[in-house]
Symmetry: C2
Subunit: 217 residues, 2 copies
DNA sequence: AATTTATTGTGAAGATAATAACAATATTTT
DNA sequence: AAAATATTGTTATTATCTTCACAATAAATT
């Protein structure tokens, strides 16, 4: 982990990719400058929060003017390491896994699913999009060879922990977990959960029990 | 919105479906009682946080004993309205939409995708799983007829806002948004985002810039 | 029935995050 | 070049969330 700047709050860090994406949009639509108020409207984050977020990286804007789109974009590209391609492994090529293979992560982020793994013989040796699918038995060998340290986990829940253990042993440091299982990992590995059923159910709960007054992340 | 109990913190509300799922697991494995410490190990949430979360609903446990699994389960089933089926519309039957159609939300939550919409003629009139796919032109008509107020949005980003406007006009109150677009909605509509590219990119960012010491939600 | 043990529920403290508000100041207009 | 305007960066404030720590007390053991 490079610790070039002061450590950024997690809430801020999670918004950075979002800012980056909208700055790219602005840039390609030819916009030269942008204020925190405009950006706020686009990304639905309070303008004071945006200014605060940016301020962790120093004074990026100019008073009375706003932010130079090009400058900001260049700055965030470096900060988010967009010049360096991050290769990711996809574990479990079922319905969801296949959908993710077709999802173009590369377009907005310099992240690419470089390899997939499954146990179903019909899939082994094929290519989905341009991603080769290998047998799960080769997991350790191939991701080690490819130097992959980030994995997306889309296997059936009962296999999630076992495969996680193998990923950890193979030096994977980050797991995007789409299974409902809550994974046990060492402190050196980071897991982000995307729990589809929980997301849907908590949305329903909010609708029934809360007055709705704004969206939230 | 029913406001039967005191308003629960949002962070707590988001964890309720998770607790519910694990309680179901415990129950079906025959467990009679559980402590906050055990539950903590399973769901990876601090035990004090679990006790605090539960305490918003009153004193559900017994000192020196823990919680009765069956009692908790019954309580949460009511609280999460699990006895009442929530029908959901899926807008956009592409790769991701199709994967979600095959995802069994019903298993753990009383939530079901009841209808899908797309513009591709080949899909109209077919059934995926047991879910009928209709033309997008019929959106308002059908979801109004079916009394649906929750939608999952998996259309290409450029169409997201237009379709959202139509959903809102057709009385949809909750949207689970898988598109990268940040939607503009009235204060009476709630949007939850699942932004796959942002999730992946922020995971990569955390790996590079932070010492990893625990997982987080 | 007395003692030990386990575990809750919660007050207090701490940590993190969001927002308001405004002085400072760069840009734009006159 | 002076005045008016726009907008940042940040200090202060408030809100939300997490965790510690422990008295209270129910259950289990002796």
């Amino acid at each position: 982990m490079s610790n070039d700047t002061v450590k950024i709050p997690q809430a801020t860090a999670k918004r950075l990719p979002l800012y980056y994406r909208f700055l790219k949009n602005l840039h390609s639509s030819g916009k030269q400058r942008v204020s925190s108020a405009e950006l706020s409207e686009a990304v639905k984050v309070d303008s004071a929060t945006i200014r605060r977020d940016f301020s962790y990286f120093g004074a990026l804007g100019k008073k009375g003017y706003g932010y130079n789109v090009n400058y900001l974009l260049t700055f965030f590209r470096k900060t988010l390491d967009q010049d360096e391609l991050t290769k990711v492994a996809l574990i479990g090529v079922g319905n969801l896994g296949t959908a993710l293979l077709h999802y173009n992560f590369l377009k907005n982020n310099n992240t690419k699913i470089a390899v997939g793994f499954d146990v179903e013989e019909a899939k082994i040796g094929t290519t989905i999009g341009d991603v080769p699918i290998h047998h799960m038995d080769e997991l350790e060998k191939i991701i080690t060879e490819m130097g992959i340290t980030v994995a997306i986990l889309t296997v059936p829940a009962p296999f999630a922990q076992t495969i996680t253990d193998r990923l950890v042993a193979a030096n994977v440091k980050g797991i995007l977990n789409f299974t409902p299982a809550r994974l046990t990992v060492p402190a050196t590995t980071r897991v982000h959960h995307i729990d589809l059923a929980v997301e849907l159910q908590s949305l329903v709960y909010f609708l029934k029990h809360y007055g709705v007054d704004e969206e939230e992340e």
